[in-house]
Every structure is written in structure tokens, then in C-alpha cells.
Symmetry: C2
Subunit: 327 residues, 2 copies
DNA sequence: CGATGTTGCTTAAACGTTTAAGCAGAAAGT
DNA sequence: ACTTTCTGCTTAAACGTTTAAGCAACATCG
């Protein structure tokens, strides 16, 4: 592989001159410039990213601490957004995840201390108390999502999304609206619950605490939770399932109870699964802006790295109304 | 950030000694060793990955050329497999994609010449003739999928998957089996068609060329293709849709023609969408081993990098039978 | 015509590691 | 007691860049 020295020799100059030509810094005669460019071209020369990083003390690379738990659907889109956002600004993306027995916090620390990235994206800071503290200590640019108290951040306003969903159900005439929540330790649970309460209070609707149940993150959990809800005396006439798997389980439960989704009980998913439009009935859902989240995270982090202004951002889920919550 | 020099000073030795201690090479007295370790600990010293890479001429990093077109569902799983496979062996993953107006081949070339990765994963080599040639030229370890003639590779045997699917439909008594294919320039199209023909020939069933239609990659394309198929005089009694979106479009078309999926016409997806089990009727499908693909790609590439044996691998789709193709 | 800039290149240091080679001093063998 | 071998450290070069500083040669100016 050709180095700057090879090019220098081929062009009959010293490496420094080659560097000046290639970077457009320094003053070089047109003749020399031409010879250098030609030599570089002929040798397929490309600077060693490693050597350049070492010297310049920056790598044009964004680090991503890959979460241990990855919601498969969301995850792919977030990575897409990140890589596109990074590439648009000339950055690349380095993925790092925990080896066996390692915590996410440790991965972050390693990434930071290895000095091979100019900044780090940390998803779901919330889930890890240790990291929150560490995030503050780190002097390397860091952008996160999931906690509003770490700056800069990009948030998805799940509360607003839930408010919109509940409000829509209310307008449709539903009065007994239940919510199957994700694991309570996820900040998502808290955010959605706030939205749920806010919307119902605002509508002046009394709600039964028994309509708020945790379903975990699995289809099975959603099924069990929905069965419990539907078995109540005063059973809900609408169920919001926070996650896609919970919604699947719910649909199954509604069916098994001999009820019809959309007629006997409305179902709305807090996260839109692929093919939601093709289920029977088509499934209403909140469409989460995962791609935009990734892209914005990259953009914000790069702004931060460059010392530009990097305001916090908030993105909103979009309510997609289909037949599973009436027509 | 602490460097090896800082540690050396703190421990009262020279940098080389620190290096020897930390890498376990060289002979150092236990006393000195202890002092060095303590100093390193106190300063939170971690070697600069960049400097180490420069010196060792290897980075413990795998490069991934991120395709321009990313099937969102598959993509997330493949990345998961890659990152887990890499991490398991102490490697990290660098994502690189084309900037505006850049080809995938150019990204590959840049990645290779930048000398910041020890090997490259290239998905869908097939789609890009330029890359095939380049792949052969590159002396950096390269692993691919999608073309059996580039070594090493990890393939998904789509032909076998299709044979299994068709054979199952035949056993179920279906005789007029149609196939909605992905874009014909994808190797997938060719592989699936081979499987389709093989299975039908083996079963001694005559098939009508009109039952093989291209549907592209969108729901709309699947809808149109299915409408065309179902409008024929001798309409098929079973439709295999190569991709998830094609399957969605097909389901819609069956419905719009006033037919019942699973009773009037069987539908089988060549790629299983999330929630397939919860559609009505539950959708039969080939489950693609995307995660395993990613993991194996990483494993194979690392073996190649280490100079170990790295045989080619073949993975198989798994047929998941549900009610959309009879009971 | 000598002082002053400017142009175009070179020299050399630096970035943070690793590692071959060197070299004292101690232990061991003759 | 004198070589030899080991132990434990240091010196210095190397990896491939960038960039400040140096320095000729030449142009410009009073």
C-alpha cells in the first residue's frame, strides 16, 4: 500500500510537500503540484486514516454504544438514520457493544478512553444510572436520547404521542380506555402513563387504575395483560398496547375472547409494526420517528463536535388511524 | 487524557516498560509491575487505539459497506449479527456508506485504502459488477454474501428455501402455484425461480409461464402483480410472494378480489414479516436467517483475517407453516 | 544596490504506541 | 576469579501523517 513517502519519491519531492499539495495548505508551484497529483493518482495513494487521526487528534468518526436490548424494528431504522446523518457530514460510524459480562457503561468508558472517536451516541441513557453520571463526567462530546436532563439530547415525545392517541379514542366515543405498558423501569412507561392521565383528565373522563397494566415487552406478556383486562367486569372498550409485540398479543387475546377488534374493542399500538396496514382489521398505531431520531442524533453530535450550537431536539410520533379503532 | 508517558513518569520508569507490563511481554520485576499497574489504574490509562493501530498495522476493526438499499427488517438483524459476531472475538464494526453521488464500489475502495479496518464485509456483491472485480483485486480480507463465486462467502440458500415452500404447497394439494418475484436484477430472483422450477418439475407438475411475474419490491408492485395473476382465466390457487411487502400487497389483492386467503387462494411469503403470526389468517412464510448471516459473516471474516481456515457457509431459510396456505 | 518580502521547498518534531537492540548488574557455571 | 547466561530495565527507531520553523532563491521597493 502506497504511503506519502512513495508519492514523494515518485514526484521527486519531500513528504511534507505532498501533504501540502494534497491538503491544499502551503504554497507549491503549479508544476510541482501537478507532478505530485499525478504520482498520487498513479499509486492510488490515499492517506492512512490511522496516521492522520493520530496526528490531528481527531478521527471523523462517531461512536455508537450498541444497546444490549435492541428492539429489532426500531434499531435498524435508528442505525440507518445515524449512518446517513454521519455520512452527510463526512463522518463514519463505529459500533461498539458489550462483550460477555460487560456493562454498557464500561463500553462507553472504553470508547471514550480509546480516543478513536470524536463523539459518542448513547441510546437509552435512562436505563442505566451509572451511565448518567459518567455521561456528565465525560468531556468527549456525547449525545443521548431517553433522558431530558442530559445535554445535548434528542427526544421522542412519547407523552405527546400518547395524548394524541388517547384524545383520538375519546373523540371516537371510547370511554373505558386501557393501557398495556412496557416494563415499568423503562422511561417510556412513565412518559406514556403521564400522557394517558393528562389526556383523560383533560377530557374529564374518570379512569380506573385497573386499566393500567404492565405487559412487559413480549407477545406473551401482551396476551396475558389483555386477557386480564378483558376478563374484568367492566371491561375496557379500547386498549392501547405500548409496543408492537404487546399489540400482537392483545389482538390474539381479543380474538380468543370471542370479540372483534375494532367493533367490540378498539386496539391501538404505541409502536407501528411492519405490515400494520395489512392486518385484519388494519391496525391503528403511533408511528415512531426512528429514522429521524438517528439522523438528528448524528447531526446534533457533529454540531457539538464542531463547537457549533447544538440545541436539544424533540421529535413526535405520528398517529396513523386505521380500522382497529373504529371507522 | 493520560498517555503511556504519564503512566511511565508516575511509576518512575520509561514508557517501554509500561508497555511491557501492560501487554505482558518482556520481563519486569514484580515490584515494578505493581507500581506500573497502580499508576495506570490511578490515571485511568487506556492505550490510544489509534497509536496502537498505527504501530501494529492492524486495528481489530471490521469494515461494513452499508448498502444503499436496505431492507429495513433484514438490515437490523444482519447488523445485530455482525456486531455480536465481531464483539465475541474482540473486534469492532465500522459502518461506511456512500456519500451523495458515490458508488458502493468507491466506498469499498476508500475503506480498503484508508487502512483503518482489518477486513471488509460486503453485502450483495452481486448487485454491483464493478465490485466483483474489485473484490478479487483487493488483498484485504473480504467476505461477501450474494455471490457464490467470491471466497470466502456466506450464502443463504434461497433455492432450497423455495423448493421447500413449493414442495409443501404441492403436498397440500395446490396445483397452480404462482410466484411473484423481486426485481429480476437481484440474484434472489434467479435463485428463487430455480427453486420454483426444480420443485415443480420434481413433482411432475406442469406450470404456466404466466404464473411467474415480477413484482418489484414494493407493496404496490405486489398488489398489481397479484391482481394480474388473479385476473387470469386459469387463476393460480397459491401465490408465493418473494418479499414481505409483496406479500402484503398480495393479501390486499386477494381481499379486493373478494377471495379468502387460505381458502380460495394460498399465500406464502418468501420473507417473514414481523407479526406474521397475527395476521388474519396467520401468514405462512420462509423465515430468513438474517441474524445468523451477520454473525457468520463476522466469524468467517475474522477467521480469514487471522489466517485460519475459513470455509464457505450456507444458511437455510426455515419454512413456517401457518393458516394462509391451508390448515 | 542593499533591505525587505514573497515563493517554494526542506528539515525536523510531534502525535502515542510497540519492539528490537543495548546494556548494566546479578546469578550461575567452569 | 572469569566467562556466560539471565534478569530488568533503557534507548531509539519505527508506524504514516501534519505542520511549525528554516532557508534558499528570487522579486519588489526605496
Amino acid at each position: 500500500m502506497a504511503t506519502i513517502k512513495d508519492v514523494a519519491v515518485a514526484a521527486g519531492v519531500k513528504p511534507a510537500t505532498v501533504s501540502y499539495v494534497l491538503n491544499g495548505t502551503g504554497s507549491v508551484s503549479t508544476a510541482t503540484k501537478a507532478r505530485v497529483l499525478q504520482a498520487a493518482e498513479a499509486l492510488h495513494y490515499q492517506p492512512s486514516h490511522t496516521a492522520r487521526s493520530l496526528q490531528r487528534q481527531q478521527s471523523n468518526t462517531l461512536g455508537l454504544v450498541v444497546p444490549l436490548e435492541r428492539d429489532p424494528a426500531a434499531w435498524g431504522l435508528i442505525v440507518n438514520g445515524l449512518v446517513d446523518g454521519a455520512t452527510a457530514q463526512g463522518f463514519e460510524l463505529l459500533l461498539s457493544t458489550a462483550a460477555a459480562g460487560q456493562t454498557e457503561a464500561a463500553v462507553l468508558a472504553e470508547l471514550v478512553h480509546s480516543r478513536r472517536v470524536d463523539g459518542v451516541v448513547y441510546l437509552n441513557v435512562a436505563s442505566d444510572g451509572e451511565v448518567v453520571q459518567q455521561g456528565r463526567d465525560v468531556h468527549l462530546p456525547l449525545v443521548s436520547t431517553g433522558r431530558a436532563d442530559i445535554h445535548p439530547h434528542v427526544m421522542i415525545d412519547n407523552e405527546a404521542g400518547m395524548v394524541e392517541a388517547v384524545a383520538h379514542l375519546v373523540v371516537q366515543g371510547y370511554q373505558r380506555i386501557a393501557l398495556i405498558m412496557p416494563p415499568l423501569e423503562w422511561t417510556l412507561a412513565e412518559e406514556q402513563e403521564r400522557g394517558y392521565r393528562t389526556a383523560l383528565d383533560e377530557a374529564g373522563i374518570d379512569w380506573d387504575p385497573a386499566w393500567l397494566v404492565e405487559g412487559g415487552a413480549s407477545e406473551r406478556g401482551g396476551y396475558d395483560a389483555a386477557m386480564e383486562l378483558l376478563g374484568q367486569d367492566d371491561r375496557p372498550d379500547a386498549i392501547i398496547a405500548a409496543l408492537a409485540p404487546l399489540a400482537f398479543g392483545t389482538l390474539q387475546a381479543v380474538h380468543d375472547m370471542g370479540l372483534a377488534t375494532g367493533r367490540d374493542v378498539a386496539v391501538l399500538a404505541g409502536d407501528e409494526p411492519q405490515g400494520a396496514a395489512y392486518m385484519e382489521p388494519p391496525l391503528s398505531a403511533l408511528r415512531q420517528p426512528y429514522y429521524a431520531l438517528g439522523k438528528q442524533l448524528a447531526g446534533t453530535l457533529i454540531a457539538r463536535i464542531r463547537g457549533e450550537e447544538c440545541p436539544d431536539h424533540t421529535l413526535y410520533p405520528q398517529l396513523i388511524v386505521r380500522r382497529s379503532c373504529g371507522e
